[in-house]
């Protein structure tokens, strides 16, 4: 304790080191502030859209007098609200959609709709806490710790200091520890304040803090091993920056390219083309070509499954579903492929503390690939509920009564 106090006083006089720590504090405050602002904006968007969505749906339904028309025009908002931890890691929310308005038509023609922001955003990326902790903080730690020993060696103080302290551990451990702690606190305090403001769960905040401190500790170990070498401070810094480049940039990039080559994902455009051709060809095919595969999936409607007129709503929506059914194998492969890539990325991230930290924070924030696929799954489940609600109306065709539509399924964003 005494030693920590001594080194803390010593650190306070070291303007260079204080500069790095203050910089970390400012960057963390900025990252947290930006993150909270973005998350709030997304929540406001969702709230505004929810109100607008209900109004629009009521308006659409009010104009019709048949179940099929009403279903055709009624959109339903689905959304993945940002978690109370999303401010720290916006992750995939900049590239994957978190809003979809779906209706009773073929789902595959709707769910791949991209609602991404400005493409430059996705390209350059946001400055969020996850990026700061994963990529920037290690570099700050390197700047802070690389010349701990070498600097004293150059100044001719190394042996003197160690002789005074008795053992090296009594000197370097508190000295590096105070700097490490200073940097960690500078990063985490704004984050904790942000977490408190956002009401993030204590467990998530604790896990994130542990992740950040743990990955920084791994970097500390690397710096300690390299910093022991009897080389000049610039040579050590250059070597450490090289290692950082390797671990934070090159290995993730190479792993990504490798994974994408090794784990194929079907071309998404195929899904759309397949589905579109299936839906459009149905108009020209005999009705049985639609109703047979549909009834195979829904035997409960077999008794009511004959189509007599050139156009009937039940047939129209049946071929929408059959279109989805035809695309199913490739849709499954697309989903599995993405999950497999994500799993592989999870393993590859073990090679890079930076990737591991960023992925870990995205996982905690619910902004990782799995969370975005889970959102897609929820949209699919909701769409299935919509169909389950409408099919009795199309097949039994009771007299139109808009009151029944008050019972339309409501999307529940909770996982």
């Amino acid at each position: 304790m005494n030693a920590l106090l001594r080194e803390a006083r010593f650190l306070a006089k070291d303007r260079g080191a204080v500069l790095w720590i203050v910089l970390a504090l400012l960057l963390s405050a900025a990252a947290t502030g930006f993150g909270i602002a973005e998350v709030r904006e997304q929540r406001q968007t969702i709230a505004a859209l929810l109100a607008e969505d209900a109004k629009d749906r009521a308006n659409a339904i009010s104009k019709h007098d048949a179940w099929g028309d009403a279903a055709y025009d009624a959109f339903h908002l689905t959304y993945a609200p940002p978690s109370d931890f999303a401010f720290a890691a916006l992750g995939q929310r900049d590239t994957a959609p978190w809003l979809h308005r779906v209706r009773m038509l073929s789902l595959e023609s709707q769910i791949h709709e991209a609602d991404t922001a400005n493409a430059d955003f996705g390209l350059i990326g946001r400055f969020d806490f996850a990026f700061l902790a994963a990529a920037v903080a290690p570099l700050l730690l390197i700047l802070l710790l690389h010349d701990l020993r070498a600097g004293e060696r150059v100044a001719g103080r190394h042996d003197w200091l160690v002789a005074s302290a008795g053992t090296p551990r009594r000197l370097w451990l508190p000295r590096a520890g105070v700097r490490f702690g200073g940097l960690a606190l500078a990063l985490l305090v704004p984050f904790w304040i942000g977490a408190a403001i956002e009401g993030a769960g204590f467990g998530a905040a604790l896990a994130a803090s542990a992740l950040v401190v743990g990955s920084l500790a791994a970097w500390w170990a690397i710096i300690a091993v390299v910093g022991r070498r009897n080389a000049s401070p610039p040579a050590l810094l250059a070597a450490l920056v090289g290692i950082w480049l390797m671990l934070a940039l090159l290995i993730p990039a190479a792993a990504r390219a490798g994974i994408e080559a090794a784990v194929p994902v079907p071309d998404g455009a195929e899904i759309l083309m397949l589905q579109r051709d299936a839906v459009n060809d149905a108009w020209d095919k005999p009705k049985a070509a639609t109703m047979t595969p549909f009834l195979a999936r829904h035997p409960e409607w077999r008794a009511l499954g004959t189509v007599e007129k050139p156009f009937e709503w039940k047939w129209y929506y049946a071929f929408q579903q059959v279109g989805d059914q035809q695309a199913e194998p490739i849709v499954t492969a697309y989903r599995q492929g993405r999950l497999a890539r994500d799993r592989a990325a999870g393993w590859a991230a073990l090679l890079s503390p930076a990737a591991l930290t960023e992925r870990g924070l995205e996982r905690l924030a619910g902004t990782d690939t799995r969370a975005m696929i889970a959102y897609e799954d929820r949209v699919r489940a909701f769409h299935a509920r919509l169909r389950a609600f409408h099919y009795p109306l199309f097949f039994r065709d009771p007299p139109y009564d808009p009151v029944v539509l008050d019972g339309l399924p409501r999307y529940d964003p909770a996982p």
């Binding site: 005494n2 001594r6 006083r9 010593f10 006089k13 070291d14 303007r15 100044a155 001719g156 103080r157 042996d159 003197w160 200091l161 160690v162 002789a163 005074s164 302290a165 008795g166 053992t167 009594r170 000197l171």
Partner: protein
């Protein structure tokens, strides 16, 4: 009586070459021993071996009768070390530097005691609050000597302690070393200053090429080692 510092047939190899070769000496409590030698004679290596930074390849070094290798920490705790061209932290003032190093050694010292030690080395009062990057070489050396005094250890290892000091300060320093020895401290200093060594030491050892090639005791010479004799020996050996 157990010698405070002792080297027994000490051999230290660095990069395949013997820097110290079969060096033996013993220094009694209260004795001032000066190791005299030219560049690369192995002077600093001797000090670093006593401090446990270098391990003997053969032989042994002992502090207070105990091998340094057995407990480096205990050995270092007994020693105040003054390195050659000691550089303290430039961004701290004299008080802060002394406070930091003493804290590191586990000693708490009052401000009055700091001032007393700085008075003893005659560091001007108005300089003590200034950052040390503005100090002259002599002022830095004085502060470092004050630090060695403040450590209050039974043993002092001094590496070229008078370099950078003006002649008056050197005389004052030598008086101080003798006073410390009189009070029971053991002093091992290494230097290439023949005159200074003869003036202050009870015994002078002549180190050359890693071997102890000569020894001159004040007691043998009637209380004072003759500078001319030592100088002649030093010059002769250097020339050889």
């Amino acid at each position: 009586m157990t010698p405070t510092l002792e080297a027994r047939s000490l051999v230290v190899m660095r990069d395949g070459a013997a820097v110290l070769n079969d060096v033996s000496f013993a220094i009694a409590p209260g004795e001032v021993f000066a190791l005299l030698g030219g560049n690369g004679a192995g002077k600093s290596t001797t000090l670093l071996t006593f401090l446990g930074f270098l391990q003997p390849t053969a032989g042994d070094v002992l502090v207070a009768g105990r091998s340094v290798g057995d407990d480096v920490e205990a050995a270092r705790a007994k020693i105040a070390y003054l390195p050659e061209a000691a550089s303290l932290y430039g961004h701290l003032n004299a008080y802060e530097n002394l406070g930091y190093f003493l804290d590191l050694a586990g000693r708490k010292v009052s401000r009055a005691a700091l001032d007393a030690a700085l008075d003893q080395v005659a560091l001007p009062t108005e300089a003590r609050q200034r950052r040390m990057q503005s100090y002259s070489k002599g002022m830095r050396q004085k502060t470092a000597i004050a630090l060695a005094l403040l450590r209050d250890t039974p043993i002092l290892l001094l590496d070229e302690p008078t370099s950078g000091l003006d002649p008056v300060a050197i005389d004052e320093f030598h008086a101080m070393v003798q006073a410390l020895a009189a009070a029971g401290r053991t002093v091992l200093m290494v230097t290439h200053d023949v005159y200074g060594a003869c003036q202050v030491a009870d015994r002078v050892g002549l180190l050359r090429g890693g071997r102890l090639v000569g020894s001159f005791a004040a007691s043998d010479a009637g209380g004072r080692i003759d500078t001319e004799t030592v100088h002649a020996a030093f010059a002769a050996r250097e020339a050889a």
